[in-house]
């Protein structure tokens, strides 16, 4: 599986990746509308560079190893490809926006101002790479400093580990995307004073740091949460059917017996009378 590794410390915030993404994916210019989030991603901006005064951070779809959006889409319009990219099939989509609700990173965007809207997000330039027009995503090839690189996920993980080990004072000892929500195909390594926990919605939860039963673990893939409920469906269906038929049979029989008894009683009374 292919992946992207972004090194926060190397990014200079030149926005070349954003430009390249726009050109390659043929995206229209962006106008800030009131329904957009403040992170710069929108239906016409599939990657954006954020700045906090010291570091630059490139945001894009994380292409989870076990994506929540893929598991919740009722028509399977989103699917995980063999290269690791999560791609979108607009022909199947019916516009329910469940993927936007379920994404733990809040990535998919919507064409809110179109009468015929579609879901928009980074697809790792899947179609163009498959055609052979480009060998790697537009953003990584455009990066002048090598802050964001493309390659096999295992090798990139090794590379990231190597960088962290080489300069333990500089880097935070975490590879973002290695394990969280079951691992992602877009990895981040970052400087000591710049933790990236805020990217994941989990870490903005109200009950931060509190153990609640029934909450999935940070490193568990989202699809697991609905698994038991979906697994219980056939049992609930057939069980309810059996229960209802049983009750109906019992009550019906009781009523029948009662009415027969009454009849017999009446007969006896008639005979007696």
């Amino acid at each position: 599986m292919k992946a992207i590794l972004t090194d926060i410390t190397k990014c200079i915030g030149c926005n070349e990746c954003v430009k390249a993404c726009k050109v390659t994916n043929n995206l229209p210019p962006d106008k800030p509308r009131e329904w957009q989030k403040t992170d710069g991603l929108s239906a016409s901006n599939w990657t954006s560079v954020l700045h906090n005064g010291k570091y630059n951070l490139r945001k894009q779809c994380r292409h989870c190893v076990e994506p929540a959006c893929v598991s919740v889409c009722p028509v399977g319009a989103l699917h995980k490809t063999e290269t690791g990219a999560v791609v979108y099939d607009s022909d199947k989509c019916l516009g329910c926006r469940y993927c936007m609700m379920a994404c733990p990173y809040g990535i998919p965007r919507y064409d809110w101002d179109e009468p015929v809207p579609y879901i928009k997000k980074c697809i790792l330039c899947y179609h163009k790479i498959k055609d052979g027009t480009i060998s790697q995503p537009a953003c990584t090839s455009a990066c002048p400093t090598g802050a964001t690189i493309y390659g096999e996920r295992d090798e990139l993980l090794k590379e990231a580990r190597q960088r962290i080990n080489a300069e333990p004072d500089k880097y935070l000892d975490t590879i973002y995307g290695e394990k969280e929500v079951g691992g992602t195909n877009v990895l981040y390594i970052t400087a000591k004073d710049c933790p990236l926990d805020f990217l994941l919605y989990y870490n903005n939860r109200i009950e931060k740091g509190k153990e609640l039963a029934g909450m999935p673990d940070l490193n568990e893939a989202i699809p697991i949460t609905t698994k038991w409920a979906m697994g219980a469906v056939p049992f609930a269906f057939l069980g309810m059917g059996a229960l209802m038929s049983g009750i109906y049979w019992v009550i019906n029989r009781r009523n029948k017996l009662q009415s027969e008894n009454q009849k017999e009683n009446q007969k006896q009374e008639d005979e007696n009378g």
């Binding site: 009131e34 329904w35 957009q36 598991s71 919740v72 889409c73 329910c96 919507y110 903005n204 979906m230």
Partner: protein
């Protein structure tokens, strides 16, 4: 008939409003007609129309179960009405969903493209199947009316025979999707407040749907008795009241047990927005109805019983809204803006509900839904006194038709008038007006004053030997260096450099129309699409509007670029051009045309504390 007619008049009016809004929704798209955002992709239409609607229609399967399966024959008189309510409820859900879906014409895709992992897939299938079952359950009522047509009576007989299996199938399907609506939210553990997110949320949804089913049947029975001036079905209400209270106690128990076992008990008493929503919900959905239902039926007034059942219905629907959106993370933390439905969302929902109610009245009046026809015990009150001032519109049905259709078109027209396409189009934009650049020799170009601008050495550019007109490409009359902000007046939106109203108004330039518009060709076929021929160009009057040495030689349109686009195209183009032509410059300043050359690290401004007012240190902002 007065009550029911007044109700119908109101419902038709709401329907008219909703009709106009519906057209707007499909022409302009979701973004401008709703308050949905990328943070809150689901809103009122999912929370109320779909989740609330399915729960409200729960009365159908609950009453069917009690009547047909558990043999509680006392409920028989209201069984048909309950099934009709459920049927219309599901139709309303389906129609409400069509408004919410981005691509509603693709809704049938669920039949051919399968993703069995998705809870929504299961909900969709169950609703489809259950709608079919409900149709089959209700068809006999319609067919009864035509006993003389043989084919119909055969179908009727067949459906009557299979009614028990149908009822059981209906209950099975209802169990599934009532609970699966809860499963939808299992996939968003980070979105819901801990008081609502629970691994057994499907079970909680199922139980609350049963509670709501009972209470909704009570409300429906009492409302229709009131509207049609029937006698209240006291003994049936008493029975349902009893079942409802047992179920509510059980639901309350499950709810609190779940919260305490999960360890979220501390949230019950830690004061917050989420906590207050929770207690309001519990108070409405369980406690008030329980108190009222615990009183013996003979002793309480019907209006109080109505109040209790109605509050209960509101409470459970409020639970669906809470799960569906209100308690979501973005509403409770600073991650996103607070979502509150727009008026258009409310009116569409109200319209769908009114349509369902009107169809309900139609069925009740024309088919044998109740054991006695609504007209049987009505005292037909004749026109009280002849009033010569009143216009005679005809007999009762004709009067109704006239009034209802008039209220519909009037409401439609009025709403249509109030919705302005132009305003809708511009409403979605965040306006960010541009102000004048600050500084003297060195300017801080920062149109919207957020502190993240570009320091521009104005004096250095002057020293390079450029005249003012080189950059200030279009000037106001009798001016040499009109500021950029005067025409490029919004950071991101296209502006208008020409002010037509000023030119024509008597307080402004006071020009007559034919001063600019060519009289001979401005009207008629010759005009066609050539705007140029129709008007004189600006330079005819303003001979110095474009400086001779300007980079821009001709005026093509009246539109002015957005501030950022204008600045970028002016600076970057020139810088790139210089870089290409001047080889010396390329050696000294190779980064001249790169973004970071001008957009430097903001820390340079940090001394200027004023600029950073309201900007938190370490906050992530988008690099422009």
């Amino acid at each position: 008939m007065d009550r029911i007619n007044k109700a119908k008049l109101i419902l038709w009016t709401i329907l008219g409003i909703a009709g106009a809004v519906a057209i707007t929704r499909f022409i302009f798209g979701l973004g401008v007609t709703t308050n949905l955002t990328d943070n809150t992709p689901w809103g009122f239409w999912i929370g109320f129309d779909v989740m609330g609607g399915v729960a409200l229609a729960g009365g159908g399967f609950v009453i069917a179960a009690f009547n047909y399966i558990f043999g509680k024959k006392i409920l028989h008189p209201i069984a048909r009405a309950a099934i009709l309510t459920a049927f219309l409820g599901y139709v309303a859900v389906a129609i409400g969903l069509l408004f919410d879906l981005g691509l509603p014409w693709n809704i049938w895709h669920m039949i051919i493209y399968w993703n069995p992992h998705s809870p929504l897939f299961e909900v969709g299938w169950c609703v489809m199947l259950y709608l079919t079952v409900l149709t089959l359950e209700f068809t006999p009522v319609v067919l009864e009316k035509y006993p003389n047509i043989k084919l119909l009576s055969i179908i009727h007989g067949f459906l009557y025979k299979i009614r028990i299996p149908l009822v059981i199938l209906g209950i099975m399907l209802s169990t599934l999707h009532q609970s699966s609506l809860g499963s939808l939210f299992l996939a968003m553990p980070y979105r819901l407040h801990p008081l609502w997110y629970s691994p057994i949320i499907p079970v909680i949804f199922f139980f609350s749907a049963i509670c709501l089913g009972f209470m909704m049947v009570m409300v429906e029975s009492m409302t229709s008795s009131y509207l049609y001036r029937k006698e209240q079905e006291i003994h049936i209400l008493g029975k349902i009241k009893k079942y409802a209270s047992y179920m509510l106690i059980f639901y309350l128990f499950v709810r609190f047990a779940d919260i305490i076992i999960r360890g979220a008990g501390s949230f019950l008493f830690s004061f917050s927005w989420g906590m207050s929503l929770f207690w309001i919900e519990i108070l409405l959905s369980c406690i008030i109805p329980l108190i009222i239902f615990s009183m013996p039926i003979k002793k309480i007034k019907i209006s109080i019983l109505y109040f209790g059942a109605f509050i209960g219905v509101v409470g459970v629907v409020f639970n669906r809204l809470n799960v569906g959106g209100i308690t979501h993370l973005n509403n409770l933390t600073e991650i996103g803006s607070f979502y509150f439905p727009s008026l258009m969302e409310f009116s569409i929902s109200a319209g769908v509900v009114s349509a369902a109610m009107l169809i309900f009245f139609y069925f009740v009046e024309n088919f044998k839904v109740w054991e006695e026809s609504p007209f049987d015990n009505l005292v037909i009150n004749k026109a009280s006194k002849f009033n010569s001032f009143k216009v005679y519109l005809g007999s009762n049905p004709i009067v109704n038709r006239t009034k209802f259709s008039f209220s519909f078109i009037f409401a439609f027209g009025l709403t249509f008038a109030l919705i302005s396409g132009g305003e809708i189009h511009s409403s979605g934009f965040d306006k960010s007006p541009v102000t004048k650049a600050r500084g003297a020799d060195t300017l801080l170009i920062d149109g919207n004053r957020d502190g993240y601008g570009v320091v521009f050495a104005h004096v250095n550019h002057q020293k390079l030997g450029y005249t003012c007109g080189y950059c200030h490409h279009i000037n106001k009359p009798d001016d040499k260096a009109t500021g950029c902000y005067e025409c490029h007046d919004d950071m991101y939106l296209i502006g208008d450099a020409f002010r037509h109203d000023w030119h024509s108004s008597s307080s402004g330039a006071n020009l007559d129309c034919f001063k600019c518009h060519n009289k001979s060709v401005s009207k008629g076929m010759n005009f066609k699409f050539s705007n140029k021929k129709a008007t004189h160009i600006c330079q005819n009057c303003h001979n110095k509007i474009i400086p001779l040495d300007s980079r821009i030689k001709i005026l093509k349109t009246y539109k002015s670029l957005s501030y950022t686009d204008a600045m970028h195209s002016l600076c970057i183009n020139c810088h790139e051009q210089k870089l290409h032509t001047d080889s010396l410059l390329k050696q000294i300043k190779p980064n001249l045309a790169q973004c970071s050359k001008c957009h430097k690290n903001f820390s340079v401004f940090k001394k200027d504390k004023k600029l950073f007012q309201g900007k938190k240190e370490n906050k992530w902002v988008v690099v422009p």
